[in-house]
């Protein structure tokens, strides 16, 4: 249980920074593209600004990601023995095929503006983004395999790979990948939108803010609007391959036709027989999953009580995620309409709303993650290995308490530092173009003639 708390805490924390990084990586590519085409200093200043925010966030993402890789062996030794043949491979592949790419070209983005040609620099922005997207492929292959294992056989009490393609493209991988990446794009767009809205409110960097805000609103609306369809695709897959998890999402006990869909509610768990009070659409779940109210949905009664996940947590996080995702569509749509009516900058309440939305997609993402991971309990690999059988036999509770305390302390300090720096960069804003040009002229002068590359 302690290991679970530690893992949940460290992954949840990691998963604040990853979506911001992925979203900002996209923004870096957009702004570098603009600069590459225009070659005007204002676009360079804009791009530098996004790169600063991106790298600050990426640094924490890298550092906390290392924790995750180490935690499998350290806290989950028996799990690692059981799944090493399958689960370890995508982690190693992530390192070799994605992480090297990101990290190496991140160095070029950070230090190489004057050292490489403009084309190479622009290509580096692309390579970093491709690296982050590839990273997510491998990590989500590993995670999806825990949810819907495929392409394996059990030999001597260990899962052994029998088909790489079946294991990699296991049933939940495709919907999960699209769902996660689009969620990260939404999160990135809201980060960008809230920064720009703040500048508009403070009447600073207006040109920069207008330009970036439109990009964020258009991309954000497209991504948010696509989300219900992607989410639905993912839900159909869950209902098919992890019916108990779907039942837990809606806390449906009886396997039955015309199963209800809750908009919100409160679960009272009477020894695994849940009673939900809230607003429901009768037959809604059946309609959603089978396009007919007579569609029979599998309930929690299909498995023994010890094979059911904790209901309240799963129900609430799932419903909060969905409610937030509809809120995102509304906010993005409203802001974009106001923009086209040329009234966005006068609607200060709407700009403040955009600023306030900064953390909401991150909350939605963490809720979605909680729903999917807790919804899989008590299994660490669905149907194969229980979470309680995956922990390290030799790591003592005292050791986990000690490291949990240290993680809490270090992560808190890092969070404060990150927030200070992130907000500091925003407060400072993109470089003033005139100052930037003067600084460049000044630094270019001392270089001896003929020594340049």
């Amino acid at each position: 249980m302690l290991s679970r708390i530690q893992f949940a805490f460290t992954v949840g924390y990691h998963f604040i920074f990853v979506p911001i990084s992925i979203g900002l990586a996209l923004m870096v590519v957009f702004s570098e593209r603009r600069y590459f085409k225009s070659n005007i200093p204002a676009d360079k200043a804009a791009s530098n600004f996004w790169i600063k925010l991106f790298t600050t966030t990426f640094a924490i993402g890298v550092a906390t990601g290392l924790t995750m890789e180490f935690a499998f062996g350290a806290n989950w030794a028996d799990y690692s023995r059981y799944v090493g043949s399958i689960f370890g491979a995508p982690l190693a592949a992530e390192g070799l095929l994605a992480f090297f790419l990101e990290s190496t070209f991140l160095g070029v983005l950070l230090f190489g503006r004057k050292k490489v040609s403009r084309g190479v620099y622009y290509a580096s922005a692309w390579l970093v983004m491709i690296g982050t997207l590839l990273s997510a492929v491998w990590i989500l292959i590993a995670n999806s395999w825990q949810q819907t294992p495929a392409g394996y056989k059990i030999e001597d009490g260990r899962a052994i790979l029998t088909s790489f393609w079946a294991a990699a493209f296991n049933p939940s991988f495709a919907p999960r990948y699209v769902h996660t990446i689009v969620a990260c794009v939404i999160a990135g767009c809201f980060v960008v939108a809230s920064i720009c809205a703040w500048y508009l409110l403070k009447k600073r960097h207006l040109h920069f803010a207008r330009q970036a805000l439109v990009t964020a609103l258009v991309v954000g609306l497209l991504a948010s609007a696509a989300m219900p369809f992607i989410g639905h695709w993912h839900a159909l897959e869950v209902a098919k391959f992890q019916p108990v998890k779907m039942a837990a999402f809606e806390s449906l006990y009886d396997t039955k036709a015309s199963a209800p869909l809750y908009l919100f509610g409160w679960v009272r768990d009477h020894n695994g027989d849940p009673e939900v009070t809230g607003l429901k659409i009768p037959g809604g779940l059946s309609l959603m999953l089978g396009l007919s109210t007579s569609h029979v949905v599998t309930g929690l009664d299909s498995v023994k009580p010890q094979d059911r996940p904790p209901l309240q947590l799963v129900f609430q996080s799932y419903h909060l995620m969905i409610a937030l995702s509809f809120l995102f569509i509304g906010v993005m749509l409203l802001a974009l309409i106001m923009h086209f009516l040329k009234r966005l900058e006068k609607a200060r309440w709407l700009l403040w709303l955009l600023v306030a939305c900064f953390p909401l997609p991150l909350i939605a993402i963490n809720m979605g993650w909680a729903a999917t991971e807790v919804g899989r309990q008590p299994w660490i690999v669905q149907g194969l290995l229980r979470t309680s059988d995956g922990v390290s036999p030799v790591v003592s509770a005292g050791e986990i308490w000690a490291t949990l305390g240290l993680f809490g302390l270090i992560y808190l300090i890092l969070f404060i530092a990150w927030l200070r720096i992130f907000l500091g960069i925003i407060r400072k804003g993109p470089d003033d173009v005139v100052e930037m040009l003067e600084a460049e002229r000044a630094s270019a002068q001392p270089a001896p003639a003929g020594a340049g590359r």
Partner: protein
Amino acid sequence: MTLENIWFFLVAFLLTGYVILDGFDLGAGVLYPFIARNEDEKRVVRASIGPIWDGNEVWLVAGAGAVFAAFPMVYAMTFSGFYLAIMLVLFGLILRAVSLEFRHRDKSWSKVWDGAFFLGSLVPSILVGCALGNVIRGVPMNANGDYTGTFLQLLNPYSLLVAVTGLFLIVTHGAAWLALKSEGAMHARAVQYRKITFWVCAVLAIATSVATIATVSRASDNVLGRPLGWCFLVVLLLSLLYTIRQMMKEGAELRSFLGSAVTIVALAGIAAVGNYPEIVPARGTPPETSLTVTNSASGHLTLQVMLIVAIIGCPLVLLYTAYVYWVFRGKTKAADAEY
């Protein structure tokens, strides 16, 4: 050459790559408070490793991932058995990574980040060697492949000797790097440090060899009984003789840096030959509890698929890593720092 053996070699390759590449930037971090005396010099130290340290650390990510995929039993045993040490390495690397990115953006906490950079470099530099010492010496294990000793047993004299040797190797490597990248007063200091620490290294390496022959005869017998072991020994001897001469000279910066890299390769090769075919030998428990290349390996198909991944990935990685080192070649100046 079976698949398991190829993977033993690949894991050794990745981890040696880690020690060589992250080694010099860890070493630079350990030297940082001593060698950089003002803001400009500090900036040069950070900027000299700035563009590349992140990529260097990925060698550890890839190496650990490769152990997980290819030898999951070893991964599970070492990471859970050396739990506190692993967590301390992790905390060190986290603080270090963040301090490098945050230091220049955060003037008011500059002392905090300087301290984090130093400690975050020092702790992994010591503990990685300590873990290696235990892996060479062997640890007590049960039939499930779990470590059965205590944390304090890991801090035995032999492993501590390997840890100190490793630390000095990394520091020398870091000093050689800084001599290569810096100019002026700091360059002179780096050359000075490089001379002293390399002598300490040479003495410690001999002490470790003697200690290995005396207390871990399995490893020394393996090295002395195999042609490959002798090859690495000859390489070690030649590289020590060559590198000592380069390290003492001023102006032989690249040659001394490459010399210390070759020394690391030779030492890593000796350690790998000494352990093979065991990866983690049992000590004090029945020999069948040892984790060997065969009994700890992953499924056959996994090794095959991962080999394809490695064949595609490794050359690409080496290619663009070399490119980035080429881009950032030459002396680092304070003005090259982050914007």
